[in-house]
Amino acid sequence: MDGHELIFAGLDIGSLTAKAVLLENDIMIASAIIRVRPSALDSAKDVMNAVIMEKGLSEQDIACCCATGYGRLDIPFADLNMSEISCHGMGAFFTDNGIRTIIDIGGQDCKVIVVNEKGLIKDFIMNDKCAAGTGRSLEMLAKTLDVPLSSLGPLTLKSWRPIDITNKCSIFMELEVLDALYSGKKLTHIAAGLSDAVAKRVASLSASVQMENPVCVTGGVSKNKGVLKFLEKRMQRTFVVLPVDPQIAGALGAAVFAMRSFEKKEKEAFRK
């Protein structure tokens, strides 16, 4: 250890976006989100460059790097890899030590993670039946409605009578949405119905783990106020707002794991 602080990196290579976070002295000093490149390695390199360039660092300055997400296995410069479930849990917990449950609604999948008082997984559940109730299905359906994903939330909040969407498959949900659309239902109600449908799927998923308060929501869909509103209603809980962009929670968690594994190794080396 030569004077200056150690820097740790966390990478989250997802299916749609790649995220990176730099951590120095328990503080997040930089982060970046980019759209994925054709290969996981390219995404990892690009997103990593983006953060280290911003801080004017070089790759040698990174003491330890941890990767997570779908592409986690394909990154040679990562020192270790952790599942995104651990990383999301830890990332959210790291920003607010009170948090015990993290609902992560990502592009392809949706998970409910319960962490212990150390930020480590206590229990989790991840959707495996089908992809309904994920960010991707919401995106598809927003496209059907011809509204930008970002305005789905505000639209939902205006509705007082959401339509009832019963189908469980997101592809066939689209049929129901189209039907409602063409029969002249109000856009706000359809949007609300959609948000409610997604919330319903997430709520039923979460029923099989024992959630503990306080709860926070991460992942892309957490930016959608409409879904959050319905989710709160269906779960009868209120959510804590994270102090950081919830999308980078996974990368942040990875950086924390990088830091810890480094410290652990140091300690072992010291003992010897």
Binding site: P162, D164, T166, K168, D196, S204, A207, S208, Q236
Partner: protein, 467 residues
């Protein structure tokens, strides 16, 4: 949907059938003409679809015939209501007095419980009657079960049993009588129920074939059940009581068989909705004397029409064979088709009766024939063996009842049924019988809604030029 869902109080659904409203209904049954007029008058507010405010009574009104039922039909229904509530009261009293309650699986009849003077209860009863308090309840109960981890692909009828146990809608059993039929869900769920309740259970192992060996095996199972009950309850078999009941069962079966026979007439004098209802009631409380009265009233009605040469509808346009179970959440399907299209379901999977006569002359014959008779109850008799058990009966009904078309109500949980679909398709092709293949979940309207079923049926009729 906007409001947060209500939760159910313990036993709320059962109590619903025992409170004042039911007394009023029973009172109204005494004046069938008035009841009919009342229902007819109110038709516009509930007939078309479920709304936020008519859901409380819609199911009941539709089941009662929506003002178009015959007075005898209402009489049969009043007995059905008595039979069901009797059982509920009995169970309630047993719970209070801490008597033993025996859960009896849907297709196993509770005759043996009568012989031991035990209170029998059907844990799956709510899959039909939960609808009566409003249609949102069955999905709610199913969701409760699914959230606990009951597999989603299980048959919804059985998921309702687990759900109602979890939501404390049904009384816990002291003993369970389960069976290995008609399908895997039943096998799986009865293990779950035994685990959850901790009650000792006896499994009736349903044989695969229907031959002498199988009958004997099932008969032995029944004898073993007797000794199981003896051991668990310390009581002994009251053979006289059993004999009385079985004599009554014979009578019931005779009436039902005759109704089935008369349905072959053109025009068809019987609406199969009543036969399906009779099946449901027999599973819930065969032991009640009201069961016999109900069947008698049904028989009287059908006989009357048969002798006059009348049909259920004035002008019978279409004879339908309904294959696979009817739809509890849309029980009005029968009447809806009759009213709108003159289409009568002349035979169906559930309503058709082919039980054997029980010889009550000795203990041995009683148990032997009871066992064989149980193996011929609807659902059990078709679903447990090879595909021929389903298709042979289907062919027989097609030949005897001469339907113009068939409606295949493919139940989502019935995986073995879907696995045999190609065989059924080929048979209907060979017979040149038009078939409507519905894909639905009979207990869960979330899968395919009432509207969707109506829409598909209308399109089917229209494209064949029947509507």
């Amino acid at each position: 949907m906007n409001k947060t869902k209500k939760t159910l109080k313990p036993f709320e659904l059962l109590n619903y059938h025992m409170d004042l409203k039911i007394d009023i209904l029973q009172f109204l049954f005494k004046f069938p003409r008035f009841l009919n007029g009342f229902l007819f008058f109110l038709r516009p507010i509930y007939l078309k679809k479920e709304t936020a405010w008519n859901k409380r009574f819609r199911w009941l009104f539709l089941v009662l015939g929506a003002g178009k039922a015959d007075t005898l039909e209402l009489k049969a229904m009043s007995h059905a209501l008595y039979a069901v509530t009797d059982n509920f009261f009995e169970v309630k009293a047993a719970k209070k007095n801490r008597e033993k309650i025996v859960w009896v699986e849907w297709i196993l009849n509770p005759e043996i419980c009568e012989a031991f003077d035990l209170v029998s209860f059907n844990p799956e009863v709510l899959n039909v009657f939960a609808n009566s308090k409003g249609m949102e309840y069955p999905p709610m109960i199913i969701e409760a079960a699914e959230n606990q981890g009951t597999p989603i692909e299980n048959c919804s009828a059985q998921k309702l049993a687990v759900g109602s146990l979890i939501l404390e809608q049904i009384p816990k059993p002291s003993l369970i009588l389960g069976g290995s039929h008609p399908c895997d869900t039943s096998i799986s769920i009865y293990q779950t129920l035994e685990y959850l309740t901790g009650a000792p259970s006896y499994i009736m192992d349903f044989p695969y074939w229907k031959d002498e060996d199988s009958y004997r095996y099932y008969e032995k199972n029944t004898w073993e059940l007797l000794s199981f009950l003896k051991k668990e309850t310390g009581k002994d078999v009251d053979w006289d009581k059993l004999k009385t009941l079985l004599d009554r069962v014979n009578q019931i079966n005779n009436y039902l068989r005759e109704i089935c026979e008369m349905s072959r007439a053109k025009p068809c004098p019987s609406s199969n909705s009543l036969l399906a209802l009779a099946w449901a009631i027999r599973e819930v409380n065969l032991r009640s004397p009201h069961m016999l009265s109900m069947v008698k009233a049904m028989h009287q009605l059908v006989r009357k029409r048969y002798e006059k040469g009348e049909g259920v509808v004035k002008k019978e346009k279409l004879r339908i064979l309904l294959w696979f179970p009817p739809i509890p959440f849309f029980f009005y399907y029968f009447k809806w088709m009759e009213e709108n299209f003159g289409a009568v379901i002349v035979a169906d999977f559930i309503g058709y009766v082919s039980t054997v006569h029980i010889d009550t002359s000795s203990k041995e014959t009683m148990i032997r024939d009871l066992a064989i008779s149980q193996m011929h109850l609807a659902m059990g008799r078709q679903c447990h063996g090879p595909m021929e058990f389903i298709t042979d009966e289907m062919l027989k009904l097609i030949d005897e009842y001469e339907p113009d078309c068939m409606i295949f109500s493919g139940h989502n949980g019935c995986k073995h049924g879907w696995a045999g679909l190609k065989i059924i398709q080929d048979i209907c092709r060979g017979k040149d019988l038009p078939v409507l293949y519905l894909n639905l979940d009979i207990m869960d309207k979330r899968h395919t809604s009432e509207e969707e079923i109506k829409k598909q049926t209308i399109t089917f009729f229209k494209s064949h030029g029947w509507a």
